[in-house]
Symmetry: C2
Subunit: 353 residues, 2 copies
C-alpha cells in the first residue's frame, strides 16, 4: 500500500493550531495510509504532539502566519515564509501530495495558483463547495470568488465538478445543472445563456437549468455558477439558517412550556442541523491546480480537519487530476470554440511560436 | 379625502379568483379611501361579490387569462384581452391609479413596461423584494430578473430602493448597501466594483458592501444587486427554509417524545415562520414604471392580497413616483457620467435632434 503525505497548514483557522493538530492525529489514526506534515511555528505545534510517537507525523517549520483578517494579496507579498506558502512548496517539491488549510481562503487560493500552477487545459481553477442536501450532497462550483466568468470557464467548471462528483462523491453519472433564474434555456443573462448552449453539446449528463430553490431538494448533483453568484448564495443560505436558530431561541425563551418542548425535541433538531453541517466533508476542493488542495472552513474543529485531510488523501488516491485532465481534453474543441485565448494559443502552437 | 382606485387582477395567482376577491373586499373594508376595480372574467367574479353592496367595488371584464405557466412573451402576444393587460390599460387611461397582480410575474412586468412606459430618467425598471429580517424589513432590488445590469442601472436601483424604503417603509435615512462577496471596496466583479465607486459619490446613505449572510441580520435597509443574483439568492433562501421545515418534520415523526416537544413549541415556531412570511407586505413594487404596480407572490391568499392593495394605494398617496423622479434627477450627472446611452441622449438634446 502506497502512503500519501498531506501537508497540513497547522496555523490556519479559528481554532488553530490545537484543533488542526487534533484533526491531523485523528486522520492518521483512522487511515493507515495517510502521513501528515504539520506546517507552522514549531514551538507552538511541538507540545501538541507530545504523546504521538509511532504516528506518521512530522513538523516543518514556517515562521509566519497569514491571519484570517489579512488582505490576501498583501499577505502573500509580505509573508514569504507563511505556513500556507511552505505547505504548497512541499507539494511542489514532491515531499507531499496534497495540502489542507482552514486558514485565510483567499490567500490559500492565490498561493496555490501561483505556487502550483494550473492543470493543462484549465483557464481558471475553481473552488467546489460541497453542500448537504435533502438527499445527500451536491457540488456547487464556483464558490471561491472566480468572478466575471466566461461561458468557456463555466464549461470547465462543469467538467471539473462532474469529475469530482464521480470520483470523490461516488456518483456514477452525476447530473450537472446550470444555476439560473428559470428553467427555460432562454432564461438568464448573456453568459448563462451561452453556457447553456455549450453544456448541451458537452459529454456531461446535463439536466438543464435549476433555480436557487432547487439546490437543497437536490435536483442535480453538480451546480454550475459564476463565483459571485455562488458566494452570495452560499453565504445567504448560511445566514438564513443562523437567523432561524436565533429567532427560534429568542421566541422560545419567553415560555416555560416552549422551553420544555424544545428540550424534548432537541435531539431531533440537532440531527437536522448536523445534516446541514459542513464538517462531514471537511472542506472544499480547489479544482484545476497542479496538485491537491482542500480548503477548510475557517471555523473547522478537529472532525472537519480530519475529514478534510482524508478527502485530500482520497483525491490523490483516486488520481482526480488525471481524470480532470482527461475530461478537459475530451471537451477541448468545445472549450476552444468558445474561447479566443485558446484559439490564439492553438494558432501559436501550429505556427510553432 | 381623495379616493384611490386600484385595478386588481382578479384572475392572477394560485388562489384566484376566490382569495383575490376576498383580499380586495378586505382592503376596502379596512381603508375608506380605497376603491377597487376587479379585472377578469365577470362570470366568475360576479358571484364572489354578491353580498358587498355599498362597497367601492366594480368589475371590468377581461376575457383572457395569462396562466402562471405561460411564457410571458408569447402570452402577451396572443392574449391581448388578458386581465393583466386590461388592468394596466385602466391605469394608463386614468381610470385607476395602481395595479395589483399576483399572476404570472414575468407577464406583469413586461406588460407594465410596454403599457405604462418608464418614468423619466429610468433606464430599467426594477422589482424590489421586501424581505423580513431579524430587525424588520429590508428592500432587495432587483429581484425581478433584470440581468446584465450596468453600473448606471444599479445606481438607479439604489436611488429607487432608497425612495421606496423612505416613503413606504418609513425609514428616515435608509442605509443602502451593495451585495458583494466581501466587505472591501476592491472585492467583486467589474460591474460591482464600478457601482461601488458610483454609490460612494451618490447622495444616498451608502454603507458599503454587504455579503449574503448580512441580509437577514439587517446590516442595511436597501440591498442593491443585479436581478440574476437577487433572484437566485431569494429563491435559495426560500428553499433553505422549506427544506429545514421538511427535515424537522421527518426527523420528529420518529419519536413520540419529540412529537410532544414539537407540539409544545409549535406556537413559537409558528411565530418565527410568520415573521419570515412574505404576506405582511403583500407584494413587491415594480419601481421605475410610469404608474403604480405591485406584484404579489403567486401563492398569495386573501391577507397578502389585501396588504398588496393597501401598499399600492399608499404608493399613490405618498406620491412615490414624484420622489423617484426627483431622486433620479439629483443623480442625473452621476448616472449620465456612467452611461453612454444617456450621454448620447444629452448630445441629441443639445444639438436639438
Amino acid at each position: 500500500m502506497s502512503r500519501i503525505t498531506i501537508a497540513v497548514d497547522a496555523m490556519g483557522g479559528d481554532h488553530a493550531p490545537e484543533e488542526v493538530v487534533k484533526g491531523a492525529i485523528w486522520a492518521i489514526q483512522e487511515a493507515d495510509d495517510i502521513e501528515v506534515i504539520l506546517v507552522g511555528q514549531e514551538g507552538l505545534i511541538r507540545p501538541l504532539i507530545e504523546n504521538t510517537t509511532g504516528l506518521s507525523l512530522e513538523i516543518v517549520n514556517a515562521s509566519q502566519v497569514i491571519e484570517m483578517s489579512d488582505a490576501p494579496a498583501e499577505a502573500i507579498r509580505s509573508k514569504k515564509d507563511s505556513s500556507i506558502k511552505v505547505a504548497m512548496e512541499l507539494v511542489k517539491g514532491g515531499k507531499a501530495q496534497g495540502v489542507f488549510s482552514a486558514g485565510n481562503s483567499g490567500a490559500t487560493l492565490a498561493t496555490a495558483m501561483f505556487t502550483l500552477g494550473r492543470l493543462k487545459g484549465v483557464e481558471r481553477p475553481a473552488l467546489a463547495g460541497i453542500i448537504p442536501t435533502l438527499k445527500g450532497h451536491a457540488v456547487v462550483i464556483d464558490v471561491g470568488g472566480m468572478v466575471d466568468c466566461k461561458p468557456s470557464h463555466l464549461l470547465q467548471f462543469a467538467v471539473m465538478g462532474h469529475v469530482f462528483a464521480k470520483y470523490i462523491l461516488n456518483i456514477p453519472e452525476p447530473k450537472v445543472a446550470l444555476l439560473n433564474i428559470g428553467e427555460e434555456p432562454t432564461k438568464g443573462n448573456e453568459v448563462v445563456k451561452k453556457t447553456h448552449a455549450l453544456l448541451q453539446k458537452s459529454f456531461l449528463n446535463f439536466v438543464g437549468n435549476v433555480e436557487g430553490k432547487d439546490i437543497l431538494p437536490h435536483k442535480a448533483d453538480v451546480i454550475i455558477c459564476d463565483g459571485f453568484v455562488g458566494n452570495v448564495a452560499l453565504k445567504l443560505g448560511e445566514g438564513v439558517i443562523e437567523s432561524l436558530v436565533e429567532l427560534i431561541r429568542k421566541e422560545v425563551k419567553q415560555s416555560i412550556m416552549a422551553k420544555l418542548g424544545l428540550f424534548l425535541v432537541k435531539n431531533q433538531l440537532r440531527a437536522v442541523f448536523q445534516r446541514l453541517d459542513y464538517s462531514e466533508y471537511g472542506g472544499a476542493p480547489l479544482l484545476g491546480v497542479n496538485g491537491t488542495v482542500i480548503v477548510g472552513h475557517g471555523r473547522s474543529e478537529a472532525k472537519a480537519v480530519k475529514n478534510g485531510i482524508k478527502m485530500a488523501a482520497n483525491f490523490v488516491k483516486q488520481d482526480v487530476n488525471a481524470h480532470l485532465a482527461k475530461g478537459l481534453k475530451e471537451h477541448e474543441e468545445l472549450i476552444m470554440g468558445s474561447s479566443w485565448r485558446k484559439i490564439t494559443e492553438k494558432i501559436k502552437e501550429v505556427v510553432g511560436q
